[in-house]
Symmetry: C2
Amino acid sequence: MGVIRIAQAQINSVVGDFEGNSLKIKDMIDQARSLGADLVTFPELALCGYPPEDLLLKRGFLEDNNFFLQALKPACENITAIIGFADSDGGEVFNAAALISDSKLVAVYHKIELPNYGVFDEKRYFNSDCECVLFEIDGIRISLTICEDIWIKGSLTRTCAVENGAQVVVNISASPFHAGKMAVRKDIIADFASTTKSIMFFNNLVGGQDELVFDGGSLAMDPSGSVLSAAKRFEEDLLLTELELPEGRSTAAWNTEGPIPKLRKNPHKPHAPFLNRIEPELTRIQEIHDALVLGTRDYVTKNGFRKVVIGLSGGIDSALTAALAVEALGADHVIGVTMPSQYTSSETLSDAELVAANLGIRLITVHLGEIFAAYLNSLKDAFGEGKLGVEAENLQARIRGNILMALSNRCGWLVLTTGNKSETAVGYCTLYGDMAGGFAVIKDVPKTVVYQLSEYVNTKAGQAVIPETTIQRAPSADLRPDQKDEDSLPPYSVLDPLIEAYVEEDQSPDMITGADPKIIWDVVKMVDVNEYKRRQAPPGVKITPKAFGRDRRLPITNRYLNSRKRSSS
Amino acid sequence: MGVIRIAQAQINSVVGDFEGNSLKIKDMIDQARSLGADLVTFPELALCGYPPEDLLLKRGFLEDNNFFLQALKPACENITAIIGFADSDGGEVFNAAALISDSKLVAVYHKIELPNYGVFDEKRYFNSDCECVLFEIDGIRISLTICEDIWIKGSLTRTCAVENGAQVVVNISASPFHAGKMAVRKDIIADFASTTKSIMFFNNLVGGQDELVFDGGSLAMDPSGSVLSAAKRFEEDLLLTELELPEGRSTAAWNTEGPIPKLRKNPHKPHAPFLNRIEPELTRIQEIHDALVLGTRDYVTKNGFRKVVIGLSGGIDSALTAALAVEALGADHVIGVTMPSQYTSSETLSDAELVAANLGIRLITVHLGEIFAAYLNSLKDAFGEGKLGVEAENLQARIRGNILMALSNRCGWLVLTTGNKSETAVGYCTLYGDMAGGFAVIKDVPKTVVYQLSEYVNTKAGQAVIPETTIQRAPSADLRPDQKDEDSLPPYSVLDPLIEAYVEEDQSPDMITGADPKIIWDVVKMVDVNEYKRRQAPPGVKITPKAFGRDRRLPITNRYLNSRKRSSS
């Protein structure tokens, strides 16, 4: 029987921060060694961060990957490590995993399956390879894979594991979050474990990177689909798993370069008894909440900001955004600004004040009235005759945007915007107004989920941080007297499923059900014609299977639905 | 000897406009037939427009491609046509060319080489195929290729042409413009013609689509590299070429599905004598100018706008933008707005008025003073003690942005922004201020080229449309007293080559020469930290080998250069 301890280092790399990431990797190697681990694994591209995008087109960036990888070798004394990095060889670039054992680089595995859909552009950067890498520790045979390699049914990696008699398959990943993704992953991992009869080690990245959040949740799973150990979600973690297995059958090496190397065990084994750890699973709303908090914290801090500023309207979106920001950064790092206009009711104003008080954040008040009057007066001649319409509404929204940006410029605070996915989808938002800011926390959260998250925040806090009056009041942009969202839009309970069908599932409007066809076509039209607004929106955390941004790439100049509607009518 | 006439229809498709594109295709087929053409070709994806991006993920869009293609068959009576469309078969999608002859669909060719770099994402959408399509007319053997197929040295398409004894190779393309691209294309075409000993027919798309301009320039070239005929650039065209060739050797078909079909000639041959036409070549500045005009016209009109509004500062960027807009849309469709502040000199103000007068466009004046004062008064408490800095400059820029957007909202005019590539690169521009608008005409034009274009515009007009005082005056944002761009930036003659090296050529800062290393690192740092601004910028015409936008995909959260600089210092 062989016995090995495998440590999965679920780290939060920063894209391009070779020094910082190297320090983190060294520290985890040291911890793993002292815990008696024989093998320590790191996520996909852990060394350079994921996704590095067009940094991969810079020669210096590729050279630095190799330089910092070589520099990590001495840190691997008495232990074996698997470290994700970008390997380059002549003109070819690979998404790679280095196998370093006892301070020597033993092998480099190149990812075979490259995802090029959704948020992924790996065929833009990487070459695909077709050679397996396996090794043995204490007679136990281990095969290497990277992320997508286990997601493709007919992949060579599956055959590799089977033909080479792998007992353990390590999969290092940078698998981005969306709600429900963990269950999808478990199915994929279980399928690979069962068809290859191996124990799977899925080592995921954790942390926020622009639009993406990597949610961790690294785990080990046996061929029957049982979870042997599971790491935390949305936090760095070092997950230790001990395996006792019969020694592998000594099959000949198949599709590998040379014989399968036999690597040394960690000679220092602590004698403390050891139990594999399984962290509890999260509910859907918990994981969405945690993703928003981590995504916001990492965007703000990784970009060098210390404080954020948020326009508090008295509505539920800004209240939720502020509550999430306080969880991400602490109350001292969040500033609220209330900007009442003549259309702001006393209830919404006092709700804004209440939210700030509940969260313990500083509240600044700036009145719109004088500025709005100055615009109207200065524009009098240019506007000419005729009643004011949407231009007056947008003007107020843009004055608010300018005030927040002026505070941002003066004080160095990052502006967080507060728009949700429902508004962003149908363009019920003002470019350079409420869309002005550096990060859009709930950009991918449908309004119906905004309510669920607000209830969750209140339950978690044990008090109505977000006032019940805010949750109960009919949504309104408060830009003209008695304005309500439902004057312009279907109720959110109708709208959100339509957006899911059209945006996330790419259903054809004439196949979508759940509302009057006229409403469906109106919504679809609104989604299409507002592509130009979204193109100028700040990034925000992806929490659904398809978010606006890199995930969904529609042309602005696009006559498709017009053409289709004409020809079908 | 065989004699054929080939018509290349260089059309301007609109993405998603199946009805409109079909009408255009039918019309060109009719024209080609009446001119005695035996074969008429259309650009890559001519039926659905290029690039359709994620529309290709919609099942309905793929079905409509097939539906509208079938509907075109009857239009091909007595003629052979090659029409680009998106073909789908089960779960697979192909970038395809339909071969229709005498109203029958004879074959469908699937693109073999899929570009997935720069502005291209074809591996996101298309499957690659590996089968050749050839046909004969009057004993002349013709092979089909699509765009990238002829750009790859070792491509199967080259072997196909040679092994099958192709005498003519048709290449339907959607090859986007950058300055100097035509020469690159000619080299590629000449190389393919020479190695395959065939006559090449390169049929390019024309027109603007968001960031891209397709510049036409379709041509026929013989194996010696001589151009037999060449179409207009930046305009729709129907290019007719007559060939007289010995009948092909009847080699067996290689790597094709079945025997090579022999197609009927057009029975109606006009008796008029015929000479191949070669349109003159354009200079570098001419082609950049024409690209900007076409890109602007198509963005505005394809998106349903009739008029545009431009802030005229009295500087050269806004003057050039206005001049280009007038060429694109006509003076009646362009409105200038001058928005003087307390820092606006009387010279710049009178230059703005002069530009408007020279171009014959309406000029609106809106003063900033009262609005700016109202902001400062309303923000007094929030700002607290301390001198005003960049927040006051940005505030003025944002007031101007708001005024333009208010006019846009009230009057339905599209705002054109006026920032150039040099400013956009180093972030010398204000988000939601001068960056606010729907289309950024000169976004990819370096400042040094702005000067060249302005001289060209004046020479072309035979008068100083853009005043000499504007061209001579030192560039300034006019946001504080005596402000000059060179207070914050190196001279543009130094800056522009640095931007070219770092942004377009991805050179490492420590390899770049031409300035003091400190200046180089400062510029590189400015480019990097302003990625967040560019992410929220409107689209604009790509005229360089690498434009900001889909062409250059850098993370916002990116510590690369900081890390690199630390470790090298």
